[in-house]
């Protein structure tokens, strides 16, 4: 059993006392659902897909593994789910070493891989029942659980249709249901919403949150910043096979800067000396962009009102303004100097029409 200390940014909710717990002052052993030390995978030709990753995911946590295409996310997941042997380091999942005891790991995990690997010729029900057989369930139990899971993900009506007729969202939900068949303590979701429309994405998010509330640890890879931001208790950012940042989304974002205000002045394109003079009182001026004046607010969102009043007192009419919070993309840029692919969707701005 692994023992570790509470991470520095311990806002996540689920480091649990498992054994040896002693409320009266003894030691507390905290159990990690996933733990890796210097986990690495090198492919033929010397290609290093994962170059030494250290992770610790607590039981009951949603851990967002964020990175651009080719960063090493899927290779890491494949190692953690025993589909790929590491060439270096060590990984323990649900209490078992992935290299030494892969069978025990497989009994405790659920896996929904990228692109929802489903047989289009099977029906949803056949797939779920097959999954139950693969996990050694007696037929009656497998059928009972399978039908309950199909109902849970909203596919009861479509259960006897071939998967080839399913929409992308339905396939993902079926994949999720299949991953839940073994009633896993750790659930791996590899880019579960890639390519989905917003409604389907929201439905997957709700299901993931529900599962987590029920106690399932979720390891989620994604290239969507919004997804990591919305779902994850903690986020690890990987690029070129190496971790570049880790922490709660809030903490990571707070490390890269303060929110900035984007202001459009009525009857004026861009900024002006008067405007700059007013804005400089509230923080650091940023270069104007697309006809907007930009200022990083020292006082954060609380400064929005005073800024509007100060501009008004200076005779400058505000046409519109937006408060833009730092995003995980800003974190990524700060760490790597590059933007995340697919991470071009900014955090929802707080827009105020003047």
């Amino acid at each position: 059993m692994l023992r570790g200390s509470l991470p520095g940014d311990a806002s996540h909710r689920a480091w649990r006392v498992r054994d040896g717990a002693d409320e009266a002052g003894g030691y507390r052993a905290r159990v990690a659902a996933i733990s890796t030390q210097n986990l690495a995978r090198e492919f033929e030709g010397g290609i290093v897909a994962v170059g030494g990753v250290d992770l610790e995911v607590a039981e009951g946590e949603i851990y967002g593994f964020l990175g651009p295409n080719g960063a090493g996310k899927t290779t890491t997941v494949r190692m953690l789910t025993t589909l790929l042997a590491p060439t270096g380091g060590r990984a323990v999942v649900a209490g078992h070493d992935v290299a030494e005891n892969p069978g025990a790991v497989r009994r405790k995990i659920g896996v929904a891989l990228q692109e929802a690997a489903l047989d289009p010729l099977m029906t949803g029900r056949e797939l779920i029942h097959l999954q139950a057989t693969l996990h050694g369930m007696p037929k009656a139990r497998g059928h009972e659980l399978g039908d309950a899971l199909l109902h849970r993900v909203g596919l009861a009506q479509a259960a006897d249709r071939r998967v080839g007729t399913y929409s992308g969202g339905m396939r993902r939900r079926l994949d999720l249901a299949a991953a839940l068949v073994p009633e896993p303590s750790v659930l791996f979701l590899d880019e579960p919403t890639t390519g989905l429309d917003p409604v389907s994405r929201q439905s997957i998010w709700e299901e993931v949150t529900k599962l987590n509330d029920e106690g399932t640890t979720v390891f989620l890879t994604t290239q969507y910043l919004e997804e990591a931001d919305q779902l994850a208790d903690r986020v690890g950012i990987i690029t070129d096979g190496r971790m570049v940042a880790e922490g709660t989304p809030a903490k990571l974002k707070s490390q890269v800067g303060k929110p900035h205000l984007e202001i459009s002045l009525a009857g004026q394109d861009g900024t002006s000396a008067d405007c700059d003079e007013v804005l400089a009182r509230f923080g650091t001026l940023l270069p104007a962009k697309d006809g907007l004046a930009l200022v990083e607010l020292e006082g954060g969102a609380a400064d929005v009102g005073p800024v509007v009043r100060a501009l008004d007192e200076a005779g400058l009419a505000v046409a519109s303004l937006e408060l833009v919070e730092p995003t995980l993309d800003d974190v990524f840029v700060a760490e790597t100097g590059r933007h995340l692919e697919g991470g071009d969707k900014p955090a929802e701005p707080e827009a105020v029409e003047a």
Binding site: A104, E115, L121, R162, P182
Partner: protein, 262 residues
């Protein structure tokens, strides 16, 4: 014991999936029955007088002689189709779903091959039915029929193992599809469609020692004559040898695949 039973259930479930998949994907089902039946009809109709050639075995009809060849052709193609389906599973990531489950990886391959064996048995029944329909009498009666079905099913499993190993190694359906011409070469250089003693050299010698010929003769014997222990042992040895080679190559391919990581 419980683990063995669980693995057996997995093999049966994956075999059933394999059969359903073949039934639902016409391009997998066609090679199993349609091509060999058409070829059987063409060759029987076009070369039926071959039975009059000096040195041709004593047979009731040319169709009776050809049935074993059609069955072996069918199981070769069934093995190849099964391997194509396996490669498609690898391409679309379905095997990852199977390999992420707490079952033996070999059970996954065995499940696929068990489906191929059942399809092989079905092919045997199909061609025996065609034989009955056109007046062929199975000389060894019901025992002969049962033996033929078993031998054909076992051959399907054995040939399927070789094809599966290529699917596992390459992970590409197109590579497995490329085996079709090679299969026909091996088939025509056997006694599937013509007796070895009537072939020109070196084809005759190749056919005589081609393991496929041993299997063909093992299937043909109860149709056109009487069981001979020596011939049947050769057929069983050929099936076991090819099967063992197929399973060994499959295991090696799986290890190579795991090492490569793709």
């Amino acid at each position: 014991m419980a683990e063995l039973a669980a693995n057996a259930r997995v093999v049966v479930a994956l075999g059933a999936r394999s059969i359903r998949q073949t039934a639902r994907r016409p391009q997998l089902a066609a090679p199993l029955l349609v091509f060999p039946t058409v070829l059987l009809a063409i060759r029987t109709g076009g070369a039926g007088r071959a039975v009059d050639l000096p040195g041709f075995p004593e047979v009731e009809s040319f169709l009776a002689f050809m049935l074993a060849g059609a069955m072996v052709q069918s199981v070769l193609l069934a093995g190849n189709s099964g391997a194509i389906a396996l490669a498609i599973d690898i391409e679309m990531g379905f095997t990852d779903r199977l390999f992420a489950a707490p079952i033996s990886r070999f059970g996954v391959v065995l499940g696929r091959l068990s489906g191929t064996a059942v399809l092989g048995a079905f092919a045997a029944v199909w061609f025996l039915a065609i034989g009955f329909l056109f007046g062929v009498t199975i000389q060894e009666g019901i025992v002969g029929v049962v033996w033929i079905v078993l031998l054909v099913a076992a051959s399907a499993l054995a040939f399927g193992g070789i094809a599966a190993s290529i699917a596992l190694y390459s992970g590409k359906a197109s590579v497995v599809q490329g085996l079709f011409p090679l299969m026909f070469v091996i088939l025509f250089l056997s006694t599937a469609f013509f007796p070895a003693n009537l072939m020109l050299e070196p084809a005759g010698s190749v056919a005589e020692y081609n393991p496929l010929s041993f299997i063909v003769e093992g299937i043909r014997e109860p149709i056109i004559g009487e069981f001979e222990l020596g011939d049947q042992l050769k057929a069983v040895a050929a099936v076991v040898g090819i099967g063992a080679l197929g399973l060994a190559l499959s295991a090696w391919s799986m290890r190579a695949r795991a090492r490569r990581g793709s």
